[in-house]
Symmetry: C2
DNA sequence: TCGACTTTGTGCATAGCTTCACAAAGGCAC
DNA sequence: GTGCCTTTGTGAAGCTATGCACAAAGTCGA
C-alpha cells in the first residue's frame, strides 16, 4: 500500500504536468541557445505548443519562479525543471536487445545530452555479442544482472522481441531495477513500485489510421461542407 | 472551426478509447492464435492491462457486440475493432529520413502486419539514396511530392533530424498528407485538420527519471518507512 | 418451462485535467 | 513616490475519464 505524505513543498506533481516538463525544457534550451534571457508564459507556451494558462499552472507546481510583469528567467527555469526531473544527476541506462531498434537507440544523440548515459548493451544472439556500437561492446544477455549491479544501472530500455520481453523484464526487476522503457509490443506484468513506460510504434500508426479514416468518411467535418439533411 | 455532426451510430469515440483499441486488438489476436473462441471482459481486460469496466465501456462505443452471460466472440470483435480503426483497408506509408531510426522502422515487422504498407523511403543524403532497405530502394527527398502522389501515401513517418522536420512537414502537408507520425524532437506547427502524433524517446526517459528520483528521495513512499515527524 | 448463474452495458459518483478570467504583484517612466 | 502597464498565479467552472455497482439480458441444466 503506497501512500503519499504531503510535504512542505508538495511534490505531488500531476502526471500530465510531468509529461509536459520535458517539452518546456526543450523549448527553453532552444531559447537559451538563441540568447533569450527571459520569456513570458505566452511565448513559452507557443513554443511548446500548449495553452499559456496550462503552462503557468504546470510551472506553479514546481514553485513560484516567475516575475509578474516580466516573465520567467530562462536559465533559472531550465535549472529548476532539470532539477525537478532529476536531470541534474547522471542516469545509467542499459539497452537490452540490439536489433535495428536497439542500435538506433544506442546511436540516438538525445540521450547523452540529458544526463542519460548508456552503460550497457546486451543481446542474447552470439552473433551480435562483441559488436561495437556507439563506443560500447555488446555483452551477452547472461551478464544482465552483473552489468546492472556493477554499473549502477537504474533504467532499462527493452528493445527485445516481444517473446523475450517479459522474461527479461522479470530478470531486471529481480536485479533491482524499477524503471523500464518498453519498446516490445506486449503488456508487461510488473509488481507495484515498478514504473513501465511503453512506446509502441504500431499503436501510434493505428491511431493515425483511425483519424485518417474518419477524415475520409464524413467523420468530424466542416459543418458547412455537409449537405443539409444528409445524416445517416 | 471544426464541428462534429452527431450521426445515427454516433462515431464520437473518445480519444482515450481510440488509444486503447489497438491494445485490445493485440490481445485478441493473441487469443485467436491460441484458438480461443470467446472471451469475457474480465479476461480480455486482464490481458490488455486495464480495468474490465473500462474495457466494456470502450467496446460499448463501437456497438453492442457482446453476449450477456457469455462474453465476446473473439473473431467478430477483432473484425469490428479493425474496421473501426480503419485496418481493413491498406495504408500507404512513407518514411522520410533513413538514419538509424528510419532503418529500424523500415525493418519493423509490426507495420506490415496491420495493413500498413511502406510505400517509400526517402532521404536527403546522396550517400543513402539508392540503398536497398527492407526490399525498397531509398529515393531522394526531392521526389517526396511525386512519391506521395503517385503511390497514394496518406501517412508519413518523420524520422529526420530535428532541423529538417518542420520543412519536410510543410512539404508533405502541401502535398495533401494529413496524418504524420513524428519522431523528431520538435513541436511541429501544422494547420487545422492535420493530425500529428509524436514519439519522443528522450521525453519518455525524462519521465522515468522523474519517478525514479522520486522513489529515491522520499517522494511517494511507504508511509510506514517515513520517520515520525520528519516533514521538511 | 423455469430458475440459477454468468456477464454485459450503463447510470452515477468521483477524480483529474483544462481553460477562462481576474486579482495580486511587480517593473518602469516620470 | 505615484500611477500605468504587463504578466503571473490561482479560484472556479466545465469537461473528460475512471471505476463502482447493479439491472437487464442472455445461457444452460434439469
Amino acid at each position: 500500500m503506497i501512500r503519499r505524505i504531503p510535504q512542505a513543498r508538495d511534490r505531488g506533481i500531476p502526471d500530465a504536468t510531468v509529461a509536459r516538463l520535458p517539452l518546456y525544457l526543450r523549448a527553453l534550451n532552444g531559447m537559451a541557445e538563441r540568447g533569450t534571457a527571459t520569456v513570458s508564459s505566452e511565448d513559452l507556451a507557443l513554443a511548446a505548443g500548449v495553452n499559456s494558462a496550462k503552462l503557468r499552472k504546470d510551472l506553479s507546481h514546481l514553485g513560484s519562479y516567475g516575475t509578474r510583469g516580466v516573465g520567467y528567467d530562462v536559465q533559472y527555469l531550465i535549472y529548476q525543471i532539470s532539477r525537478e526531473l532529476g536531470l541534474t544527476q547522471d542516469w545509467a541506462v542499459a539497452i537490452v536487445g540490439v536489433g535495428n531498434l536497439g542500435r538506433a537507440l544506442a546511436n540516438y544523440g538525445g540521450f547523452a545530452s540529458r544526463g542519460f548515459r548508456i552503460a550497457g548493451l546486451l543481446d542474447a544472439d552470439p552473433h551480435v555479442v562483441g559488436d561495437r556500437i556507439a563506443g560500447l561492446v555488446v555483452e551477452h544477455a547472461d551478464e544482465l544482472e552483473s552489468v546492472i549491479k556493477k554499473r549502477g544501472v537504474s533504467i532499462v530500455v527493452l528493445a527485445t522481441p516481444a517473446t523475450a520481453a517479459q522474461q527479461v523484464c522479470d530478470r531486471v526487476i529481480a536485479a533491482g531495477v524499477t524503471s523500464i522503457l518498453n519498446f516490445a509490443p506486449v503488456v508487461l506484468a510488473v509488481p507495484d513500485g515498478v514504473d513501465v513506460r511503453k512506446v509502441d510504434l504500431s499503436i501510434e500508426l493505428q491511431i493515425l489510421a483511425f483519424h485518417e479514416q474518419r477524415k475520409a468518411n464524413g467523420g468530424p467535418i466542416m459543418a458547412e461542407e455537409w449537405p443539409d439533411g444528409v445524416v445517416m
